[in-house]
């Protein structure tokens, strides 16, 4: 396993390309994200946002280029090594919560611990308390609101202490109030846990919570803006 950690950058891509047959979802892309940064990716549908996020999370493999995440060259990793990388280094939050419906919120979080190492109910309940669900440990996803379910997903994503947290339209299904609550929580966690956060969103308001926003079109970065947080 190659391990090349560039100074203070957790993500570095050089000429990163992803094609599906003749369709080029991601044109050669160069991107660098520093450790602890909050990056938002925006763009219209089909611009390559989710493709990039999937590559960063090790869910997909690039067609060409270099992709370094937390010092690991993801192209050189075997399937087993990639699975280990996903378990240990990355937390992912999706728009669809992907919670297991017949497990309680506590058990859903413990499931992530199980695949990482060993389950620990005390630690999992502390993580749920951290996201404000200390009293909903025994509730199944069907008994929780959309915002609460997303908070379970956040607890599940951060339970293994990842260096990189990825979110794909994580507030897409939430109303304004729930969105605000989730983003407030993410901000708090970002400050305390000090992970790098990469969010894909269509929502200008969500983008305002980050420190940097890149705009994508036709698989390339067309604009890179560094900003102060609006919230």
């Amino acid at each position: 396993m190659t391990s090349v950690k560039t100074e203070s950058s957790i993500i570095k891509t050089v000429g990163l390309t992803r094609s599906y047959g003749e369709i080029c979802a991601l044109a050669p892309l160069d991107l660098q994200v520093t450790e602890g940064e909050w990056l938002t990716i925006m763009g219209h549908s089909g611009s390559g946002k989710s493709t990039l996020l999937n590559l960063l999370g090790g869910l997909d493999r690039p067609t060409a280029g270099t992709l370094l995440v937390d010092g690991e060259n993801l192209l050189s990793l075997s399937e087993d090594q990639l699975a280990r990388f996903r378990r240990e280094s990355v937390g992912i939050i999706f728009q669809q919560h992907h919670l297991i419906p017949y497990l309680t919120s506590l058990e859903n979080v413990m499931m992530a611990q199980y695949f990482h190492s060993i389950p620990d109910a005390v630690e999992a309940s502390l993580a749920l308390e951290k996201v404000g669900l200390g009293k909903r440990l025994a509730n199944r996803p069907g008994e929780l609101s959309g915002g609460e379910q997303q908070r379970v997903c956040i607890a599940r994503a951060i339970i293994n202490n990842p260096k990189l947290l990825l979110g794909d339209e994580l507030t897409g299904n939430l109303d304004h109030k729930s969105t605000h609550l989730v983003m407030e929580l993410l901000k708090e966690l970002h400050e305390t846990e000090r992970f790098t956060l990469v969010l894909v969103t269509h929502n200008q308001e969500v983008a305002g919570w980050g420190q940097r926003t890149i705009f994508m079109d036709d698989g390339t970065v067309v604009k890179d803006v560094r900003q102060g947080r609006s919230n």
């Binding site: 240990e88 611990q113 990482h116 190492s117 060993i118 620990d120 630690e123 339970i159 293994n160 202490n161």
Partner: protein, 447 residues
């Protein structure tokens, strides 16, 4: 078993043993190799000396005793492995002492010596070329030793480590496995018989001392349970428990090992990862004990289903003449009583069925029942130099067939002349009725 299969099996087992030795004494490969080579040579020479100097059952009895001593020693090792704080004098295979070259060499020497003796024993009945074959085998074993220690073993996963007491367990299970393939060396059958006799004697003593109530009100219930202790399988299950106690103790010892502390690690996920790693390491420590348990289980199976084929002809029906005498001619068609093989006969009179056999040994004919006075009358089969009681798997040397006592076939009074053997039908039936245990389900038994 074909010679090639026998030799290959022994070589594979030797390879496994060497892997175990190398994992137990990873830091001392030279001492291990030297000790093993010396052990192989010593064991081979000792084996040839045994079989060259003694005939009959004695060499087998000596080797069987050697394996039995190793098995008993395993109990001591397992008990100390199980004990949390073993006494320093017995921690022969603890990590600290395993670094000592003399300890490594001695352990390898003892293991290789016993293995070589067993290998010589297994290969010694391979015909005229047995000596050449055994020497070739030992030379191949030496080449394999070098290949495994210096080429193969480094390629195996490093997580496969030897737990405390694991090497003696592996070695003894291999010895028991090899021994079980020969009825003369098998230990499980005698062990299960001893257990059965012990339980029977124990219950008997209780009964004698009136500790078992014999009151009519609860006699039936009590005897229903006591009856279970007298069933055929009680010896088997009792023997099985004793057989697997060392492996169980060593496995428990592995689980009792405390995990290294991770309290100093601040991050919970890292802490969990470290604990998971330690748990995985501990699970891997069970690999060799698990393998040894499988070998011992196969040894039990082999003991009950020996691959040796016994000479066991179908009994020929005989009748008595008007004077009540049964005549069996020395030669009758293809039958020749003096060919050294046992010849089985069955005498039928009404519902009475009595099985007996005629055997020519030590230059004279003898007639015995196909049953002993201890076991259920399941009969005897003949293998090289012995007959075996099918019920208790006891081997009876041919020289002692015709003598009373123990599990020997019950002698029958007869006369012999140049024409054949002659025996009284009444005497035959009486001997069967007086000496043999009744068994309703046994074919040929008295009804």
């Amino acid at each position: 078993m074909p010679l090639l299969v026998k030799g290959l099996t022994l070589l594979i087992l030797w390879g496994v043993l060497v892997v175990g030795l190398t994992r137990a004494f990873a830091a001392r490969k030279s001492a291990l190799t030297a000790g093993s080579v010396l052990g192989l040579i010593t064991g081979t020479v000792a084996g040839f000396l045994l079989f060259g100097s003694f005939t009959g059952e004695l060499p087998f009895a000596i080797i069987k005793s050697l394996v039995a001593v190793a098995f008993i020693s395993l109990f001591i090792v397992a008990a100390f492995a199980w004990h949390k704080d073993p006494a320093p004098a017995i921690t022969v295979f603890s990590p600290s002492l395993s670094d000592h070259p003399a300890v490594t060499a001695m352990a390898a020497f003892l293991t290789a010596t016993v293995f070589a003796i067993l290998a010589v024993c297994r290969l010694s009945n391979s015909g005229d070329n047995a000596t050449v074959l055994a020497v070739c085998f030992i030379l191949l074993a030496m080449v394999e030793l070098w290949l495994v220690v210096y080429r193969l073993e480094p390629l195996l996963p490093s997580v496969l480590k030897m737990p405390r007491g694991g090497l003696p367990l592996l070695a003894v299970s291999l010895f028991l496995f090899i021994a079980s393939s020969s009825p003369r060396l098998d230990l499980f059958s005698p062990l299960s018989m001893k257990v059965m006799k012990l339980i029977h004697d124990f219950v008997h003593q209780f009964f004698e001392s009136m500790l078992i109530p014999d009151h009519p009100f609860f006699r039936t219930d009590v005897w229903a349970y006591i009856g279970m202790l007298f069933s055929n399988s009680v010896g088997f299950w009792g023997g099985l428990i004793i057989w697997f106690i060392p492996a169980a103790l060593i496995a428990i010892a592995v689980f009792r090992q405390p995990l290294p502390s991770v309290a100093h690690v601040r991050q919970a996920a890292t802490r969990r990862k470290l604990i998971a790693g330690h748990l995985r390491e501990r699970r891997c420590l069970l690999f060799f004990p698990f393998f040894a348990t499988i070998l011992m289980a196969v040894a039990v199976y082999e003991s009950g289903h020996p691959s040796v084929e016994y000479w066991d002809p179908k009994p020929i029906a005989v009748k008595a003449d008007g004077a009540g005498t049964i005549h069996i001619p020395v030669k009758d068609g293809e039958t020749d009583l003096k060919d050294g093989k046992l010849h089985k006969y069955i005498f039928l009179q009404g519902a009475k069925k009595v099985r007996f056999f005629v055997l020519y040994r030590s230059d004279e004919l003898t007639v015995v029942l196909d049953a002993c006075s201890i076991c259920q009358p399941e009969g005897y089969g003949q293998s090289e130099g012995t007959v075996i009681c099918y019920y208790c798997k006891t081997l009876i040397p041919l020289e002692t067939v015709g003598k009373p006592g123990g599990c020997n076939p019950v002698p029958v009074s007869f006369t012999a002349d140049a024409g054949g053997v002659h025996l009284s039908a009444v005497s035959l039936i009486n001997t069967w009725n007086e000496q043999v245990q009744s068994a309703k389900k046994v074919p040929g038994g008295p009804e």
